[in-house]
């Protein structure tokens, strides 16, 4: 059982490389910089490209442009950088760009505390761009999980052609920890669906060209086209794309577009596009739901937490049980889309739900929404939902968990 002694930043960089990441653009910011340094150092060794951009806007812009050539990009920043990424996050959603964004959270607001741990960007990454369209966000709570969940982030970014956030904090990125090498579990990493990458037959059937995706004559194809990049069928299905430089012409646009990628204001086509962007994530939330549910049947209280705070939670769970008091714990690895079934399964049978996070109570809103709606639908009394918050730069301690559960 060989061990390592490393930090989360190294595990994230390794996870990215293992997932085939071959493009990184970033801008220095504490506490995300170690990931930038690793990626710029390592990518040339695998034929990839790493660049320190002139600012955060260009960092994410370069990643989005690069993604369209078929590469697997990643960028890393902290809350202030996410603010500057905001408009381009919308572009990545609209353009269906596979992109992994690491947010090493620090205490806000504004510059806040650069070297201070916090979990204050949980709702920010979900609602951080115009329109309110869904994103995916994963939150590792150990160094080994930093590795595995980074691979999962690439898998989801590719398969669902969408930006995926990895939410960690200064503690997770910097703190050294012993890791059992067997705990670095590789996650399978898929690829964005691609149009067959050979030059399509120019032959037409009765003057109608053949669609390279369906293999059938398609009267909608324009002369320069060999496939329709935004022909959503069914509406929640991720469509095949073709990288720039491949054998097909591909159009990418920030604006509402039709099946060809042309700007449109046709209400039916705009609705179909916007439904697609929502439903390709929300209809597949079960495939993206990761976490560790540790439920004890006789427990009346359930802790729910994520990231660094989940570490204190797990210690509190162990201590409480050792002291003879059963308690349950749910560690969420997926924050967005909300893993609704996993949460409701864990909540069932508990009278008190304690949601712990290093902010003023952000994810508790999702738990309340979910649990109260479920109770209303089932006409039962909902459990009590209690927030355990902290936003002073210190970690939530196991003792704080035990105080809440012991009253």
């Amino acid at each position: 059982m060989a061990k390592e002694y490393i930090d989360g930043a190294t595990a994230i960089a390794r996870g990215a490389l293992a997932a085939g990441c071959d493009f990184f653009a970033g801008y220095p910011i504490t506490p995300a910089t170690p990931i930038l340094l690793h990626m710029l150092n390592e990518l040339p060794k695998v034929g990839g490209v790493g660049i320190e951009a002139e600012d955060e806007i260009s960092a994410i812009g370069m990643c989005i442009g690069a993604a369209m050539t078929g590469v697997r990009p990643m960028t890393a920043t902290s809350g202030p950088g996410i603010s500057l990424y905001s408009e381009n996050i919308g572009l990545a959603i609209m353009g269906e760009t596979p992109l992994v964004i690491v947010n090493v959270m620090r205490m806000g607001p504004a510059t806040g505390g650069a070297t201070t741990p916090a979990q204050g960007d949980v709702q920010f990454v979900r609602w951080g761009t115009s329109g309110g369209y869904p994103v995916i966000a994963l939150a590792p709570s150990s160094v080994a999980e930093c590795y595995t969940l980074t691979m999962r982030a690439f898998d989801l970014a590719e398969r669902f052609r969408t930006p995926v956030f990895i939410l960690v904090d200064k503690e997770m990125n910097y703190a050294m920890a012993t890791v059992d090498i067997d705990e670095y579990v590789d996650a399978p990493v898929g690829q964005r669906p691609l149009v067959p990458q050979h030059r399509p037959r120019p032959a037409a059937v009765d003057g109608v060209r053949v669609n390279a995706v369906t293999g059938k004559p398609d009267p909608r194809l324009r002369p320069e086209e060999t496939y329709l990049p935004y022909d959503f069928d069914p509406v929640d299905a991720v469509q095949p794309t073709s990288p720039f430089g491949g054998p097909h012409i591909t159009r990418f646009t920030t604006s509402s577009h039709d099946e060809h990628g042309f700007l449109t204001k046709d209400a039916d086509k705009v609705r179909r596009l916007n439904d697609h962007l929502r439903l390709k994530i929300l209809n597949h939330r079960r495939e993206m739901a990761f976490g560790v549910s540790d439920v004890q049947e006789e427990a009346d209280a359930l802790f729910i937490s994520y990231g660094t705070t989940a570490r204190a939670m797990r210690e509190a769970v162990d201590r409480s049980r050792e002291a003879g008091r059963p308690v349950s714990g749910l560690t969420l690895h997926t924050l967005w889309p909300v893993p609704e079934a996993m949460i409701l399964d864990a909540v069932a049978g508990h009278q008190r739900i304690i949601v712990a996070e290093l902010n003023h109570g952000q994810y508790i809103r999702e738990i309340e929404r979910l649990v109260y709606r479920d109770a209303a639908q089932r006409r039962i009394l909902p459990p009590e939902i209690i927030g355990l918050d902290r936003a002073d730069g210190e970690l939530i301690t196991p003792e704080q968990f035990l105080e809440v559960v012991n009253g």
């Binding site: 490389l17 408009e87 920890a177 012409i249």
Partner: protein, 448 residues
Amino acid sequence: MAVAPIQIEEPRKTYKNERPFPFCPGCGHTLILNHLDKALTKLQIDPTQTVIVSDIGCVGLSDQYFTTNAFHGLHGRSITYATGIKLANPDLNVIVFIGDGGTGIGGAHLINAARRNVGLTVLVFNNFNFGMTGGEHSVTTPHGAITATTRHGNPEWPLDICATAGVNGAGYVYRGTSFDKDLPDRMAEAIQYDGFALLDIWELCTAYFVPNNDFGRKEMLGLVDTLGLETGLLHHRQVRDYAHRMRELAVDLAGKPTLPLKPIEVKYPNNVAGKFHLVLAGSAGAKVRSAAKLAGYAGVMSGLWVTQRDDYPTTVKTGHSISEIIFSPEEIRYTGVSRPEALALISEDGLKKSGRYLANMTGDDILFTIPQFADVPTKARKIILDPKAAGVRITRTNLALLLMAAALRELNLFPIAALEEAVRRFQTRFADQNLPVIAASEHLISNS
């Protein structure tokens, strides 16, 4: 194996699709895009290997009328997407359409792409105002000109885009107008050019700038003289495209291992029964984190689970540096420390941040410190270590290791040989300096 017959494609007569341009009558955009079509046709460029990246504004509509790949992005950021595309696939022809508005908001990107000489062809559709949003003034609006946001005459002076790009290293810089007959040739030259190419193309906005300023073709040509600017090919230097250069520089690195695992074998026994919390409190720049990290490696080599959590200000070599280390026979979840079983206090900066530790410590805990802090109030047992008695020269940067080593000897969590091996293995370059410090700690602890 049969040789496939070479397929000869008919020469392309145009790179425009059949859709008509959507611009106002007389708009310069139509002229410029027709010039580009001629340039592409002259080059017989492969449309699948060409990407038109467009910015926002009327010019942002333009990518849709060509049979190449297209990328229509956010306002002012077209050069960032183009840079990403080129870096990821250096063999692509990447052509950027940007207006004078996009040049203003995205100025930093233009300067940096020029400085790096990213192999892009940037066509600036410069009509001296924002056309799509209603004729507001831009960074290139001439002084005194009337626009929607300068009703009394523009009080600002225009940006010289060519000079800005040129002085920052752009290899190919051209200024002209949409009426220039040689524009298709210049565009073709720019597309084939290896480094960063920029064409600042002046043109008429017939919706706003022309009627607001009685500004026609003659006035536009006259403006060049009024501003004292030169036209034509202003820079044409031999440079290498950044995207190719980056790959060329990386050739020697290819195939080298990336972040390989560094397994640590357990070679030493330990005497740790539960969680043991050790805090090292000193000053930034005094190798506090480094000494703590060595103790961590030593702990892992002794079969322990270890975590190290550091706290320091955002500055680098001033202020405090605190390392909280936990040693445990079992996996550690929570990494915080409120009551350390041992605190090694080595500086005033460290003391300022140690109040909570000192207050929480009891008579079962130990404070290791130097004579300067012998009177620090705490219930913890004190072990005062005098660096002067070390027998080797103790400086600001090895005091942390000296006290760490002394503390580890006294605490006997694991053999001191583990710490020595950590130095040899993980701080190879400094082993000669650091091993004597660890040895000297023995003398120190026996005299305390």
